[in-house]
């Protein structure tokens, strides 16, 4: 209690110490508070929120927490979510509910107000931290254990000594094991930092925290002041050393997962090229633009779904995948029929022509959709991260790894198990023989190029989740794609897989030491040297097909 009032006093002096403008504001608040001296503290808090200055809001939060009023939780939650509104003319406060419904913040009764006159009570990062801590303190006794755990975590992050009594009270009543552990950690976090706590208790707290082997715990232990008692400092240092030992192992694991994730992005970008360049031998500089078209297809699909069937948004990507395949594939067939078929066997001309096509496609997209980035939303199930041991994995990266492997497997099946795949292999290995056997080589060429382009379009759907959807999207991947295909071995899908993953992991192990720029340079030099030694890449094709 004394701590709280001290904090309020501190904020008041700080506000007064600022500028004349703030003094005037503070004066206004005092005036506004004056008539309600006999009213409940919650009214004072609401008046402070209504003033909508950052220092006033801080004061309001402090008052509200210490008031212990029933509506405190609802008001704080609304403030935190940006749903606490103040009416311009009479400074009355309202909480915005679902679908434009409003309730009076003071009474909780539903109210009908003109939304145009309302303004959100603003927060900055300092206030946001303070609201979350306050919210944690008031929700510590919430009915559901999950919410109690979340509240305990919020308190743990804030390390606010004022919350200690609330934590103790909650601990005394806690029955759920998970929530109990979270509360104890939260309590330890406060005690470690509290100078006036008994030394033995602080050391016990350090040991409790050291058991949580994560960077946050290490951060907490490092914050033990240099003037702390010797025994406490030793305990903290031991704790940090222990945490770092276990983190070193997980760091290496983390690098591998990052590498696999980067590798699967490279694989997705390159796998279409492995068909058009690797199997057909067309140097297709417009490959990146096929990826871009796939990403824009995703954007259009999401846009339509948002407008017409918002409930399907979570599955928008599943609609986008086949459509992106069809759109990019169709563009690919058009390019093959329109330009490339006249240039078979003339790699230089093909290179120049497809480069020109890539510029045309970029500018066309720029004209249609505008030059700025388009927002492609991430469905809820792909946002956020989860912990696996000491690894922190983000859902979207995991989804992309799985997706890349599925695409790879599907493509392999198409080439090995279908008639089209058989014909493709026949035509690329010996065109005239295949033609003599009655295979329509023209048709097969067009379909193969369409297949490669369509797969690139599918890659675009995945890349729209992690990169910009802009006309330049494809340019960033074209060099990497060629690198992967050449490194892995032209004409071999497995080579592309191994090449992509090798490059990804190598890149991620180099990056922490050499930096992103130098890391990339080292990798390029390594590939140049490798190609000198093995001009045909990792998995070189053998046999007559090579000479053809």
């Amino acid at each position: 209690m004394s701590l709280l009032s001290f904090r309020a006093f501190h904020h008041l002096t700080r506000a007064l110490g600022r500028s004349v403008r703030f003094c005037a504001l503070a004066g206004l608040v005092v005036l506004a508070l004056a008539p309600s001296v006999h009213a409940e503290p919650v009214d004072d808090a609401l008046a402070a929120f209504a003033a909508d200055g950052f220092d006033d809001t801080q004061k309001g939060i402090d008052i509200l927490v210490s008031s212990g009023h029933d509506s405190a939780e609802a008001i704080l939650a609304a403030l935190s979510a940006g749903k606490l509104m103040v009416r311009n003319d009479d400074k009355a406060l309202f909480i915005e509910g679902k679908a434009g419904a409003f309730t009076d913040a003071r009474t909780g009764a539903s109210a009908s107000v003109d939304a145009a006159k309302l303004k959100v009570v603003r927060l900055n990062n300092r206030l946001r931290r303070s609201v979350q801590a306050a919210l944690g303190a008031v929700t510590l006794q919430a009915p559901s254990p999950a919410r109690r755990i979340a509240a305990a975590r919020a308190v743990q992050r804030s390390r606010d000594p004022a919350a200690l009594p609330a934590v103790d009270a909650a601990l005394a009543r806690e029955t759920d094991n998970g929530a109990r552990a979270a509360l104890q950690t939260a309590r330890a976090a406060i005690i470690v930092a509290a100078k006036d706590a008994p030394e033995a208790e602080r050391i016990a707290a350090v040991e409790l925290i050291a058991a949580e082997a994560n960077p946050d715990a290490a951060a907490l232990l490092r914050s033990v002041q240099a003037d702390a008692p010797q025994a406490l400092r030793t305990a903290a240092e031991e704790g940090i050393a222990g945490i770092e030992r276990s983190l070193a192992f997980w760091n290496a694991m983390q690098n591998v997962t990052y590498g696999i994730s980067l590798g699967s992005v490279l694989l997705l970008a390159a796998i279409g090229l492995a068909i058009t360049f690797g199997v057909m031998g067309v140097i297709n500089m417009a490959h990146g633009e096929m990826v871009m078209i796939g990403a824009y297809t995703t954007y259009v699909v999401q846009d339509l779904i948002r407008d017409h069937a918002p409930q399907l948004f979570g599955s928008s990507l599943f609609f986008a995948i086949p459509l992106a395949f069809l759109v990019s594939g169709a563009v690919g067939v058009a390019i093959e029929r329109g330009v490339i078929r006249f240039l078979y066997g003339r790699p230089l001309e093909t290179l120049l022509a497809t480069w020109g096509i890539s510029l045309i496609l970029q500018q066309a997209v720029r004209t249609i959709f505008g030059p700025s980035n388009r927002e492609v939303g991430t469905p809820d199930w792909m946002s956020g991260a989860f912990q696996l041991g000491g690894l922190s994995l983000t859902y979207n990266r995991v989804a992309i790894v799985i997706f890349a492997m599925l695409v790879f497997a599907a493509l392999l099946l198409v080439l090995k198990k279908t008639t089209l795949g058989l014909q493709v292999r026949a035509v690329t290995q010996n065109r005239r023989m295949a033609s003599s056997m009655g295979i329509r080589t023209d048709f097969v060429d067009a379909m193969t190029f369409g297949l490669g382009s369509g797969v690139a379009g599918i890659a675009g759907v995945a890349l729209s989740q992690i990169d910009n959807v802009s006309p330049n999207l494809g340019q960033g991947y074209i060099i990497d794609s060629f690198m992967v295909v050449v490194f892995g071995g032209v004409g071999n899908l497995w080579g592309t897989l191994v090449g992509a993953l090798t490059l990804g992991v190598a890149n991620k192990f180099l990056e922490p030491y050499a930096g992103a720029v130098l890391g990339k340079i080292i990798l390029l030099v390594a590939i140049i040297l490798f190609i000198q030694k093995r001009p045909r890449g990792l998995f070189a094709l053998k046999g007559r097909a090579v000479e053809a």
């Binding site: 940006g82 927060l123 946050d216 720029r366 030059p371 720029v517």
Partner: protein
């Protein structure tokens, strides 16, 4: 030859000029116009940012013509596309000045494009208005810098983080080219001058268009877990920002834990991101669309009407063009001519209202006075202003925190010099 003739014609009184033109141009009915060059990339990597600026210029010129033009003549925009290709910028600048005889050019975005056109503007003596925040360390007779110098953006932002957020550890992350490198050099010197230790500063550069931020974001997280409050100062430019912010959001780096303050992320860049998880991250600019003034409201309305898109956002470099264009118009009116030297002399000291309620002035060092705003990203993809300077800050061409630069001063009025050394009392050259 042609340009000298045109210049001479413009220098003489309007009557004589009209007579000369009538004599040289056979078609007397052709109405004379004042040409204004627009040098922004409409294709290539930078098109994403620069196309908008071209549209703003067309709108401003359109408007000025509706008001009756300038010196009784209509303005005519000459738009060229340097295609994000730095040498092409120089070629296109030459084309604008020598062939099209433009009175002034509004253009460039990246520092490297500005450096590439500088010799052309010096040689042919024309005027460039450069609207983007940049690294400073430059002041040229032919260039007017309407964007922020480091003391109008980077330094106040760092001060804000230190005072308001209590930041003690700094990550300086940038794209690997001249603007981030120079800005970070200035910031590093500034922070060390304040007693920040080496181990509390982490500097990281990434290539243009970097898209895999997993390692760097997790490094930042690790760097931030030392127990001291950590912030990221981001000079990451262009396309790389979207994947960077997406990765921050995915790895759960919240603004309340490690705030990121960006110097190159504005409303346009946020348009491509879901800002829900980014609420609270910061940006430092001299203008935000959310600033509530009558002038800004009118500008936004006009812009959305002009582009026929009620969702189009406005941003800082757009405001810089508005200020620059209005200053140029006033200077031409004051000088009574579009002659380069006369306009350069007339424009210093010109004051025009900016869109945030203040009045910006062109200074003798060819930079302008600007207010500084710190904004936090909100869920609508806009910025809420959380701090601003009480007064306008004069742009400083030469940083006070770098050796060799702190003794230099730019003054094109009394000293006729862009790098006057106050120690040696001579124009030109770095400090000894």
């Amino acid at each position: 030859m042609l340009s000298t003739f045109a210049k001479a014609a413009k220098g003489i009184s309007t009557f004589a000029a009209a007579a000369l033109v009538a004599g040289s141009v056979t078609a007397a009915s052709a109405q004379e116009t004042i040409k204004v060059g627009v040098l922004h990339s409409l294709s290539g990597t930078m098109a994403i940012s620069e196309t908008t600026l071209k549209d703003v210029m067309l709108m401003l010129i359109d408007e000025q013509n509706k008001k009756g033009g300038l010196l009784g003549k209509k303005l005519e925009a000459v738009v060229v596309d340097p295609a994000s290709n730095w040498p092409l910028f120089a070629e296109k600048a030459r084309e604008l000045i020598a062939q099209e005889n433009v009175a002034a050019v509004f253009g460039c975005w990246t520092s490297v494009s500005r450096k590439s056109v500088l010799p052309v503007f010096k040689e042919l003596n024309s005027i460039l208005f450069y609207p983007v925040q940049y690294e400073g360390e430059e002041s040229e007779k032919n260039v007017f810098y309407t964007g922020a110098a480091p003391n109008q953006q980077a330094i106040p932002a760092v001060d804000y983080l230190e005072k308001e957020e209590g930041v003690e550890r700094w990550v300086l992350a940038g794209t690997d080219y001249v603007y981030p490198r120079t800005t970070n050099k200035i910031l590093e010197a500034y922070l060390k001058g304040k007693g920040v230790k080496d181990e509390d500063i982490m500097i990281n550069y990434t290539p243009f268009g970097h898209s895999d931020w997993q390692t760097i974001v997790s490094d930042i997280k690790k760097f931030g877990s030392s127990g001291k409050k950590t912030a990221v100062v981001s000079t990451i430019n262009g396309d790389a920002n979207v994947p960077f912010y997406k990765e921050l959001a995915n790895q759960g780096v919240k603004a309340t834990d490690i705030p990121v303050v960006a110097f190159s992320v504005g409303e346009e860049e946020l348009a491509g991101i879901d800002t829900g998880p980014l609420v609270g991250h910061l940006a430092a600019w001299n203008y935000f669309q959310s600033i509530d003034t009558p002038a800004n409201e009118a500008f936004i309305k006009e812009w959305q009407a002009y582009t026929k898109n009620s969702e189009r956002v406005t941003n800082d470099p757009m405001e810089a063009h508005v200020i620059g264009f209005n200053m140029w118009v006033k200077a031409v009116e004051k000088a009574g001519t579009t002659d380069t030297d006369k306009v350069i002399d007339a424009i210093v000291g010109i004051k025009v209202p900016n869109l945030t309620g203040g009045t910006s002035e062109m200074l003798p060092n060819h930079h302008i006075t600007k207010p500084v705003f710190i904004g936090e990203v909100n869920a609508e993809g806009q910025f809420d202003v959380v701090w601003n300077t009480d007064d306008l800050v004069p742009g400083d061409a030469w940083s006070d925190f770098l050796e060799g630069s702190k003794d230099l001063e730019a003054d094109w009025v009394s000293k006729k010099c862009g790098n006057f050394n106050t120690k040696t009392g001579k124009c030109g050259g770095q400090a000894s």
